[in-house]
Assembly symmetry: C2
Homo-oligomer: 232 residues x 2
């Protein structure tokens, strides 16, 4: 390693730790990843991670924060732009869905380094049982979810709000699971289809969008409210 590279590697120690942590957390989960594994993959000393990031929890939060910040700001910007263009009229559901999920996949695709890795990490993190992760994610998403909630309610004024929340719930699940990429892929690996296309994210977005919009627009279910059966 020459002097320039050495200097560069020193300067970027913090980012190299974050990049390595992103990969390791994705592959092994939070609990399954030790600080030694991260620093070993980053090629730095164990103590450096604590010096630069403070603790393992803080490291995980920073891994998530630095990418979610970009993604969520872009989500807000795209939604603002669409609403400006609509000049006060409610947005079409498909526009909102694309602004939320499409933006996620497009931003991740742009970030050449770690984009795909982060997507899979994010997909797994959503169901992580750790309390500090759930609390942190809740805070990171609060603003974005509030804005999209309002947009969805305006877009579908005749649909009960509870139904909209449920369907957004289902959409989050379908998307998270798809971008997490494992588990299922393991399960359907035997299915006789073009596995290459399934294993990659090839054409994931148009397929996902069709599915999500189809689900969102499905006829409302027959709900039993305890007294009588009604169509909500």
């Amino acid at each position: 390693m020459n002097k320039a590279n050495l200097e560069q590697s020193r300067k970027d120690t913090r980012e190299r730790i974050l990049d390595a942590a992103e990969r390791m957390f994705m592959q092994n989960g939070y609990d399954g990843t030790s600080m030694r594994l991260v620093t070993g993959a980053a090629g730095v000393n164990l103590a450096a991670a604590n010096y630069h990031l403070g603790s393992k929890e803080a490291l995980m939060q920073e891994v998530l924060r630095r990418r979610l910040e970009v993604i969520n700001q872009e989500r807000l910007r795209v939604l603002d732009e669409a609403e400006t263009k609509a000049s006060g009229k409610p947005l079409k559901p498909s526009v909102i869905i694309d602004a939320f999920f499409g933006t996620l996949l497009r931003v991740a695709a742009d970030q050449k380094a770690g984009g795909d890795t982060f997507l899979r990490l994010l997909g797994r993190t959503i169901t992580d049982p750790s309390n500090f992760i759930r609390t942190f994610m809740s805070g990171e998403y609060a603003d974005v979810l509030e804005r999209y909630r309002q947009a969805m309610f305006r877009s579908l004024p005749d649909v009960p709000k509870a139904e909209i929340v449920w369907r957004f719930h289902f959409m989050l699940g379908a998307a998270s699971y798809a971008i997490a990429g494992t588990g299922t892929l393991q399960l359907v690996a035997d299915w006789q289809v073009d596995e290459g296309a399934v294993a990659q994210n090839k054409n994931l977005l148009p397929r996902l969008m069709s599915f999500l919009i189809g689900g969102l627009r499905a006829p409302l279910p027959q709900i039993d409210d305890g007294n009588k059966t009604v169509w909500q």
Copy 2:
């Protein structure tokens, strides 16, 4: 504790360990759950868990296996019954979806003890990064997925098989996320709706079924195959 209860608790030590492990794994995840936590919750000695179950990995596998066995056998039985009734004709997609996801929720609802706990554990386990869990789940699901794959392909002969696999993928995600119950609930907790109905699984099945069938029947996406844009 009288003699009968003491005798009973001795006899059921193994099951009490499994029940406690189910709760702890659901609340804290696999890595976040220690054997001491499990045995403490079960009110048994630490060594008893290793005596009865062998190891932590074997404990987790048995927690999953004992419930999945019932659920997957019922899934096969319901599908067989539907195909017999259809006397050779392809099944409607909604029938297949209900046989798979509806059976899961109905069996879990029947098992008063641990049914709901297991559902949430299952939802989280699907995205678990641990290698032994993924391998185990793949084996447990192999037969069921093979049968349902064939049924889906017969049911939708005009839809490319890759699309069917993708949409089953999305459906699994939506269902897993919904039954896992946390993460999202945390995220949408602020949304101004009847939180009681969201927090419980109240009317989950009809809502989920509507969404899944809507997504499955959505228009096929516009796919870019690399050379030209085609409708598949």
